[in-house]
Amino acid sequence: MPIELVVNVVIAGVLTGLVYGLMALGLSVIFGVVRVVNFAHGEMMTIAMYATVVLFASLQLDPFLAVVPVGAAFFVFGYALQAGLINPFITRPEHSQFMLLLAVAIVMVNGLLMVFGPDARNVQVDYQLESYAIGPILFDKARVYASATAVAASAALFAFFKFTRTGKAIRACADNYLGAKVVGLNVRRYYALTFGLGSACVAVAGCMMILLVDVSPVLGPAYTLLAFVIVIVGGLGSMAGALLGGVLIGVSEALAGLFIQPSAKSMFSFALLILVLLLRPQGLLGRKP
């Protein structure tokens, strides 16, 4: 098998995996702090993809520029969702939270079906069919830009949690709920802020993902599942783990497609998941409970 073929496939896997990673990062951040598993994660990304399509169709706004309004709108939406709907469920049994977010997901899918219909949609930007070439090695432009944006957004989120007072306060809430309350932090507000940030994260991922795949309302559940696989492989609650998990899933799918059978490539993400659950249940970069 020619080496340039393997290199090309690995590069595509890494670039796609970084966007997957950003999508899963939102899920990981929300779970890491709020301890709520967002079962509507993929559906939220689907809505972000549709928002990008609408902005592109109506204002000719490039998906990279759409990151700002869509990200901001999702931050507000996520904040409101947590503050208005999820916060009352924080102290309730986990299955109540599970059912609540599953219901939100179903409402989202059917809402999209009602508004946009079942048809797949995409954006047609000038650079979508172009690629950079270094000898026989090709870099798909859309993938390069999308993954660079994913890395930049992830770095900004890391910096926020590491260096800002608000970020540190959120981490304090995540580390010790009671302690955070004792020192006077408004935990529920920080939870809402975190859900807003996680939603903004998934919105940015959606803006980038529309450059790689066409969107249809039924896309959501598949991406929710993918996000789960990624964060479990990387480590639930670990931000670096989400990115690593994304890249691992992207590359393993690509290599499995190349060496074994393209139609069986998604099987390998789940095989990887089983392997991680058996050998390192807390995920590759996760902390032991």
Binding site: V9, P118, L129, S131, V218, A254, L258, P262
Partner: protein, 415 residues
Amino acid sequence: MKVQTGTSRVRRRVLKAAAASAALSTLGFPAIVRAQATRLRVGVVLPRSGVQGFIGQSCQKGADLAPGVIKEMLGVDIEIMSADNESNVDVSRTRGERLVQEGAHVLVGAFDSGQTAALAQVAEQRGVPLVINIAAAPQITEQGYKFVFRNFQTAPDIVRNGLALIGDLFQATNTVPRTAVFMHVNDTFGMAMAKGIAAVMPRQTQLPFKIVDTIQYDVATKDLTVEVSKAKASKADFVLLVCRLNDAILLRREMVKQRWNPMGIVSPGSPGMYEEQYFKTLGKLSEYSISNVPWYNPRAELTKVVEKAFLKQNPKDKLVFNGLNVGFTFEAILIAADAFKRARATDPKALTAAIRQTNITSKMMLGAPIKFNEKGQVEGIGSACVQNLNLVPTVVLPAVVATAKPVFPWPHYQA
């Protein structure tokens, strides 16, 4: 079609009345309603959403125009009961069940082989005839089903006709490609086509090429990077493709991204590349793709009638982008209506017996008259080599029905 004389009509009416009173005493009132119905209720199951949504919607246009056209043709009243199976095999089964419960006398559908196989099981279990509009997996009519009829080519027939047309294409364009990479979806249809190609290719000794690699992929795939990388690495002269719509679009885009310019893409008989959405989404990239598929006869009288009705219902659309889907769906309903007219009953057994006796010579699609063999399969349905030229699917072979000359190899795409 048999002409009924007045005497036989009266006799039949008397017999029907006798049968009705017998039914009243033995089976109850609903049986009379079924026997005396003056309107045929046709349950049409199609994938109008999901991955095959565009094609299902295209087929639906054939169902929508059928009542009006058939009323004029045969003087028969039919009612279409539509159901969306969401491109899902299980949903296809439940929608079929529901249509029968709601009073459908005959089922029509379901475009996809897997979804149709599920619908065929419903038809057999409930004893309601199913007329398949489009579905190629041969096993559907190989299982001894009594209520299942298909007016569409089986996968081996499609492959045989498609490969023969590929030979004709090379001859017409004086080209001799030596290698092909075979790419196909892994759904029921794709696997049946792959089996067909494996069986038929060795016998097609006039074809100058050999298949150097076979790549199968998921029908609901969202990314074909790896598949196209592999295909490109095979250095094949052209792509032999069995696809659906969404993956055909992904594949063509990915070929451009990876700067791969083989001699062309030729489908030995699958949907996708002649669909309107392929043109709408890809624009100029859709040009020169070739599909060897069962197609309609543009010169047939019935085509003109259907086209008129189609344009009336879809003024912004063109029949040429929906020809195969509309044509076969319309013909499936025509078969049911014709049987209803002859049987003069909606009783499933009478309808089934009448469908078995079908002999429709005035038809829209290419090929022999619609007659079912003992397995419920129509034989002799024709194919055409359809190439995308000037953003329209254009018949380029066989020469007798062609409206343009084939272009092969295709000109390289310039961004």
